[in-house]
Symmetry: C2
Subunit: 462 residues, 2 copies
């Protein structure tokens, strides 16, 4: 049943090296915690052979050759070719045995036009890349397939992370798929049960520690020093490599027409960094001729990066006590902020913050386009609206929002902000809130509800 993958060449085309993002050290191997042993900062993977001329010099990195190869793989029946991550493996670190990659056909996420949201934001061409349509429901899968595969290739039997949500679900799924064991450390009490239940289903050993998230990270740091366990938290640079592919797939979906703006939610900033890294590398290889402006939107209650840029131009970052309903970006001390700062500067993007009310409203507007999303993803539309008002985004420019995929019901019941909302804010949200109506079981009651509805609500695509 297993077909032969479609290979570009038998020789390695991408000789990746580790490098510290701060001091520039280039260790031959990563320490278990993926920190630089000189200065303690993060490591990234670089491709020394990729310069602006690389695409011309090398037949296997030739832009037209790559575009054709990636298209052909859409017809392949090999699992690695069907993956929306491994399909672009010429831009990933070299993996020894293609048949041994751990894949669940991640990536391949749709690019939607958003006519209703475009109207709300005041732009003509608005798209959303729906990264929630991954096997475990989040973009984390795109990074996990790469990092878990490298873990198994290196001989690890256990993988681990400290996570309260999407990361643990994704890690546990790929570990199960690859016959690896997985360890999840979470703070007792503060967890997303829906996501946790996924990790349990995939057989993860899940430990609730009597501490907070940072405490879990400290314990995990010690555990990986004492046992051969592969760390899959966001500091793992192989995850960044997998996450890069969303940007490559996006350009392919746009037929390599470069959008003017790409807008990303900003939590730990790993995904922003990954997407920006992909744009830079694609430009170096000649796959694209210029960079889209990459902008990052944070929630007001979890805005350390926004503050850093506005207050001191990104020189230092002061952690905050994070508090927002957008749980996926409720992060007060983003691990990858220096990487994100670099791609922001190089691409000419900006950073903005949005309130809880703004993001709740944006979420309902995206819903009116028939597309569901987590609050964390709705920040991109809310942020876009501000950027248009500020003139940073022009009405005729093409904009792409990157979005991942529980607070909907509470929002519609009007109880979400019950204690904290000003009257004027409540009035803004009211037209977007539609609680279920309780009625007697007869047609007349339903017909009256229909009439009321028509009266109160603007037509969705008027």
């Amino acid at each position: 049943m297993i077909d032969q993958p479609i290979s570009a060449s038998q020789t390695p085309v991408n000789d990746a090296r580790l490098r510290c993002i701060n001091c520039g050290a280039t260790p031959g191997h990563a320490a278990p915690d993926f920190r630089c042993q000189n200065c303690g900062d993060l490591l990234e993977l670089i491709f020394p052979g990729w310069t602006s001329a690389a695409g011309q010099r090398s037949s296997t990195l030739n832009p037209e050759f790559l575009k054709k190869l990636w298209r052909e793989r859409r017809h392949s029946r090999a699992a690695i070719d069907q993956s929306g991550v491994w399909r672009f493996r010429e831009l990933l670190p070299q993996f020894d045995n293609e048949q041994r990659a751990i894949t669940l056909r991640e990536g391949n996420t749709p690019l939607y036009e958003l006519p209703h949201s475009a109207g709300a934001a005041g732009v003509q061409n608005l798209f959303a890349k729906h990264q929630g349509m991954n096997p475990t429901g989040s973009f984390k899968d795109t990074g996990m397939t790469v990092a878990a595969s490298f873990a198994r290739q290196a001989g690890f039997r256990w993988v681990a992370c400290a996570s309260t949500g999407n990361t643990s679900a994704s890690m546990a799924a790929y570990a199960a798929r690859g016959g690896l064991r997985s360890l999840v450390l979470i703070p007792e009490g503060k967890i997303s049960w829906g996501k946790l239940s996924q990790a349990l289903e995939y057989g993860a050993l899940t430990c609730q520690l009597r501490t907070d998230f940072d405490g879990c990270m400290r314990v995990l740091s010690e555990v990986i020093k004492r046992l051969l366990i592969y760390l899959l938290n966001s500091v793992n640079p192989y995850r960044v490599e997998g996450q890069k592919t969303a940007a490559i797939e996006l350009l392919e979906q746009l037929d390599w027409q470069i959008p003017d703006h790409v807008i990303v939610p900003g939590g730990n900033l790993g995904n922003s960094s990954a997407v920006g890294k992909a744009f830079l590398e694609m430009r170096d290889l000649g796959l694209i001729s210029r960079l889209p402006k990459l902008s990052i939107i944070q929630a007001e209650g979890a805005n350390p990066f926004y503050r850093s840029i506005r207050e001191n131009g990104g020189k230092t970052l002061t952690p905050v006590q994070a508090d927002t309903l957008a749980t996926a970006i409720r992060i007060g001390n983003p691990a990858s902020w220096k990487k994100a700062l670099r791609v922001l500067e190089l691409s000419g993007g900006t950073v903005e913050q949005v309130s809880e009310v703004e993001l709740a409203r944006a979420k309902a507007e995206i819903g009116a386009d028939g597309i569901g999303c987590e609050p964390a993803s709705a920040v991109t539309l809310a942020g876009l609206k501000k950027l248009v008002r500020q003139g940073f985004v022009k009405p005729r420019e093409t904009v792409v929002l990157l979005k991942d995929p529980e607070f909907t019901l509470k929002f519609h019941q009007g109880t979400l902000f019950s204690d904290s909302l000003h009257e004027s804010e409540a009035a803004v949200l009211k037209p977007f809130q539609h609680a279920p109506v309780v009625l007697d079981a007869n047609a007349d009651a339903v017909l009256r509800a229909l009439e009321q509805f028509e009266k109160n609500r603007p037509s969705p695509h008027a």
Copy 2:
């Protein structure tokens, strides 16, 4: 941005007609309730021109031509070609304006090998088609894209259904996408809040009626007689047409190698009927040379179809009071049982039932392959295990499970069956249950938990 879809021909190739599945009446138009006005039974769409020779006679229905056309569309940037439903539109009722189909790029769901589950079931080649990876998370989207598009084409502004879960979420999403309004009727109290919140997000008018599900259906029947509202419950035959495409896509993914068995969960039996209809039509058109055996698995607590077949050979069906944790198939009076009976008989398949314990165990086994699923989908693996033991499925035959995508956490905490479980049943489930462990925040405690875990649990792919 919108590309021209890749069309087969300008002339209609599929002249669909409505026909009553019971009395054979062929009305020119459907009544609002999609019931036969003679006998009250269900309507289906038939294609009178499709006989076993049609593929030879017609250039646009030639099997090799179609297979090539469908492959080519994978490269198209037109939304309708990117849809895993509309891509196969030569086998759907003719739709007038291809650019006006309401699509969210549904379908395109992955086909996974299940090595761990295959071992548990005792077969060598086991695949699962993961229908949960649709835009709103269930196979309902594949039918909804077709039915909602035909509703809009016919000029309707409102669509409606009575549903407690996936159907309402799917309908509301497609309605929003198409600029239609949607009405959801649900019994007060008995609802899946997660799914309901999706419907609210997409702007559906959601009425909780003080009655049960049948009462909601009765009220809805009256509402659609009194207002121009298009009914999107499972009786709608256009939904069946869209759901057919999962079987076509499956065969394409298997490179048109026919599997020996296809196993489907049995709830209202609409999906089984749709999949079976696709196999029959593909055989008529010469796309496949023989039929896979299509078997249906029900939960013991919702087994009216199983009983009907075993007790009276499918002559009559007696509704039951449905009770199972597999909510998606918790249906006591399946609307499409006659259609399902026909495809079961024609394909040589069978019907089986499984207990709650069997399905919970199967769900955990599928999880060990890195794939999540709803309890309703796990019945297929649980049923397969029985069919292998009975000799109906041979170890070397190729088997495909069809699966859609909250009871996980309770299961792993061991509280799911707390009142109802025999001691021997509890012992069966124990090795599959892994509650989160609560520990003090130090590495020693975690290392002890790891050791304990290694001791107690078999290696996942040993």
